[in-house]
Symmetry: D2
Subunit: 353 residues, 4 copies
Amino acid sequence: MIISLEKDISDEKINIISNYFKKKGNETVETSGSDGAIIIVLGNTKDIPHDEVFELPGVKEIHRLNETYTLISREFDNKTRIIEVKNIKIGTNEPVFMAGPCSVESEDQIVKIAKEIKKAGAQILRGGAYKPRTYPYSFQGLGLLGLKFLDKARQTTDIPIITESTGLHRHIFEGKEEEKDTLSNVLNYADIIQIGARNMKSYGFLEEIAKRTKDKKTPILLKRGESATIDEFLGAAEYIVKNGNPNVILCLRGIRGIEPTKYLRYATDIDAIAVIKRISNLPVIFDPSHSSGDRNLVIQISLAAIAAGADGLIIEVHYDPDNAASDAKETVTPDVLKEIIEKSKKIKEIISK
Amino acid sequence: MIISLEKDISDEKINIISNYFKKKGNETVETSGSDGAIIIVLGNTKDIPHDEVFELPGVKEIHRLNETYTLISREFDNKTRIIEVKNIKIGTNEPVFMAGPCSVESEDQIVKIAKEIKKAGAQILRGGAYKPRTYPYSFQGLGLLGLKFLDKARQTTDIPIITESTGLHRHIFEGKEEEKDTLSNVLNYADIIQIGARNMKSYGFLEEIAKRTKDKKTPILLKRGESATIDEFLGAAEYIVKNGNPNVILCLRGIRGIEPTKYLRYATDIDAIAVIKRISNLPVIFDPSHSSGDRNLVIQISLAAIAAGADGLIIEVHYDPDNAASDAKETVTPDVLKEIIEKSKKIKEIISK
Amino acid sequence: MIISLEKDISDEKINIISNYFKKKGNETVETSGSDGAIIIVLGNTKDIPHDEVFELPGVKEIHRLNETYTLISREFDNKTRIIEVKNIKIGTNEPVFMAGPCSVESEDQIVKIAKEIKKAGAQILRGGAYKPRTYPYSFQGLGLLGLKFLDKARQTTDIPIITESTGLHRHIFEGKEEEKDTLSNVLNYADIIQIGARNMKSYGFLEEIAKRTKDKKTPILLKRGESATIDEFLGAAEYIVKNGNPNVILCLRGIRGIEPTKYLRYATDIDAIAVIKRISNLPVIFDPSHSSGDRNLVIQISLAAIAAGADGLIIEVHYDPDNAASDAKETVTPDVLKEIIEKSKKIKEIISK
Amino acid sequence: MIISLEKDISDEKINIISNYFKKKGNETVETSGSDGAIIIVLGNTKDIPHDEVFELPGVKEIHRLNETYTLISREFDNKTRIIEVKNIKIGTNEPVFMAGPCSVESEDQIVKIAKEIKKAGAQILRGGAYKPRTYPYSFQGLGLLGLKFLDKARQTTDIPIITESTGLHRHIFEGKEEEKDTLSNVLNYADIIQIGARNMKSYGFLEEIAKRTKDKKTPILLKRGESATIDEFLGAAEYIVKNGNPNVILCLRGIRGIEPTKYLRYATDIDAIAVIKRISNLPVIFDPSHSSGDRNLVIQISLAAIAAGADGLIIEVHYDPDNAASDAKETVTPDVLKEIIEKSKKIKEIISK
């Protein structure tokens, strides 16, 4: 619920209004809309009688909102949120490209890839130091060491890095438990913190991330859970924004579908780009690598995502895809990345007219 | 299985080879490949011993094929099949646009729409005379009368028409059964025969269509069943080609997904465009209207399909979408169609380079 | 819409009422409810003003119905329809068991299986003469010859047979097209006509079946389409009932799910038994063989279906499962069938108390 | 990989073997099989040459295992693991019943329900103190206070309790953050720790749970993620077992399916009971409440699950279902619970013969 207030309303009146809602169990946010001061009432407001609200002092108008994802809805604020990472802006007419290997494997590997993706035109380096794996016997990532290698790549190339935190536990590498939890370590190194599809519904974790980034507002790239509905995805993003960090980038990466995995790893949810851009003000990034699971499809899926309105792409790239430590099947070369970036920019231009 | 033959092989030898396979239960097709005469052995050839085949007279080489969809695979013939309807070519670098209402409602309606979509740049008029409906109490289409109205629209505008046959039964309109089955009637009127998603697995019907169009080779647009896998879809197309009509256009229109129908009617299978274009030589058309079920998404989905490699689009268009007799929610205006066509052409150019 | 009528209403008044609805485009059925004469108005009645209806002569009460599947809903008639095939009753507290091979392979095979399944306690013999196959190069069934073998098995064992019609086309066997369409042939031989999942949405075909069985009311076993929703499934059944044959048996056989086919061919829709038994009056049969695709799971799935309320089972059985011509992987032996039948009867007793 | 060892093998030889595998990156577990001492080699052993292993001292035989879920597979240990909670045994021929409200609402509520479910025959009380909710504005549970109420109910009725930990964050209740993380609190109170579907893939969290319960071996009930495949589900359970707690109870609760939510909240994965009981030695519990989402279906689904082989049920029960704080629609009364328990026991008897 949004309440428009009379001009130059007194703090006292605002207090009366806030208290009224607090008693009902709803938080309020005071801010200014295009047309003067407003109070946003969060949470379920279905059962609040409008006549009671109109009797509160200074209330001019009442506007109902989507009750589930309020702060990130276009209904609440129609302006696309532009998220800045160093000098890069995500959410404008210029698409943004994040690229790099699935896993950080060594300092040499990540520095070499960083240089090559930069040369190909990408602006942000991706690379996993903590890897959530389906089976406990698979390689789980270099951990803190991987973060240090990423840092080295950043220093060498001067491009920002995005990497995943997998939770509030402490990672074990070569039998030794790290001193800090993965979120603390990632916070110390990442320019953008990635939250993977598997943790999208770990709401307590999302709250904790928001609290710990409240001051710095480090951008969070939130991946859609592999069978999350669009509403559930936006609900998860709202958890982060409501708890203090508005800089959320939504990332689509394919969802479970009926097609067995013969040709496609996931159903490519390009349609969700178009839907989310209409109802939410957050920028949307697409991941063609995980969604298709096949390097032969990455160009086509990338361009389709841009044509559907995506604000950027996050792509798995390796100078030697066949020998990548993980996700080899879907990893492309820097040359393919370059082609994607060039064509994407042209397509973005056409659709933005 | 493809068998390369020695140069200037005698008919007698070819007969011996064919008879060998006939006894095994496999049909053969004699044709010429890029490198001389070949024999294609259809069906399951897994258990045929290669040494036996090499002992047949005139056999030079053996090449194994996908056993399920042979004739339409790139393995069999890597050249994209170009399908001609009057002067329009489907499967080239020029995307093709089919547009029109979900249902033919009246002569005036369809003639008016035909004029408007032509003006907007579409080349083929779509419109349903026979409508498969989920419940027996819904409007089932004007039938033969609708076909006559389509014919009138064609005469007026000189653009070809595509319309659906729903089976080998005789349609009932206003309590009267038609004299001929729907396929016979559609054959008399349509430039392209549409087979809907619901009938994609009615294999006997597909065989019958192929037999009845063997001579004229009327193009068949085959829609993907709503939960058909890509292999099943190609298997259905192979039924038509194997039975005598090679002019099959594949049409994707969304598949069942996990997203409840709040925002999207189907999961938009844009990924399947990229997959099918790689493995099959048939042209692929995309239907953004049925897949999304929402007119607000039709532009974005259309452009994404073209960017992914689609050879064209089939779009529901009406001069008065809100009052369309069916599918109103997903129908767009001729102006939107025009924007889609213009931008699609530009995107096709970029990706074809 | 159901309209209760005054006692001893005159034919004249009934005519006035019927004509009123005919003008609105709705058919009516006159019958008697538990509480006197009623008129059922079929189709969409949402927009018919109730006050107008109350002004018609002899109208006592109005009751709204589900608009999509009316005749088969419990709202319309709460009594489970009991369908008789010879002396067997489907839909009572006694579960019914249909069993036999996927495909009829030879006279010897089907006669031998008929004897064995009868001995194991099954009451109806299943066996496919027309086989819908995903690829054109697979075995498509013995056709008419298979029907004759089934007939022989029936004569030998005196148990009724169920077999599938795949459409209104004429089957080709060993290069020769049969003289009649598959429906005509099946009608001449079957005690129950099976309509497969692939044809569930071929509505014209369903209408034709209903018309051709209007007099004899041959029972129709309708299988759920592999991704049909429950409403769509009931809508298809309503097509048959509305067009003259009320003897429809619903058959669940698994639907497309997210689990890749490693362990399960389909998602086992046992939940739909419980749903449909609550909302429809038609009997529900479950197919554990196709739904699981694994003979090791058939006992457990069978018993679960009975516990959920199924009126019977249809099971693939062969004396030599490993060498069955099709569906070998999911076919069980007569001994397993016997165990299923014995335990099913006991479970049915427990849940019926 | 399992390696059978010679009789009375020396510690020295065992060391040599273990060191060989340690160098390859594989952990080993030394234990005794039915036929003498064995060494189990965990993790990926595909690339380890068998001839090298045979050259190690004391090696008699090599047996390959499933590489993904080893410790919980029947291949590894065919005996169903029986898990004890106080005097209750889960995994025997006696089904176990857990029941209670979705959310703990007050001391009175939970004590009253505990008494009623005990009277109805249930052995374990369920109730949520920490509630993972899709939207941040929904009621998130009473937290520690709820745990104390559960404790009170346990003291009053002397039945053990199961309750969920939602992660390693600290819960906020009425604006105050709790002192300890939810896992620590739940560990202090619960007899069985529940891990919800949303956290099934939070692998770091699973590792942490295993480490913290290594000594007490508190049973863990792990719910299947809403779109996890069976392999993924078993992989998650393996994380817990591998990290030190073998007492894992698997809980199925429905998965995402194609049926829109009109009749069913999830696709009821009863088939997975039959699959998992065949391949894993862990006990399997079914949740008919969340899977169906409809109290009218709970009896049927419960009995079907037992008939398919489930070791027990976990059911949402409230004395006043319509006024339950959450999940009201799917909550049943103690009377319904009683009927389920009585019939389940009889069905279990039939299928166990």
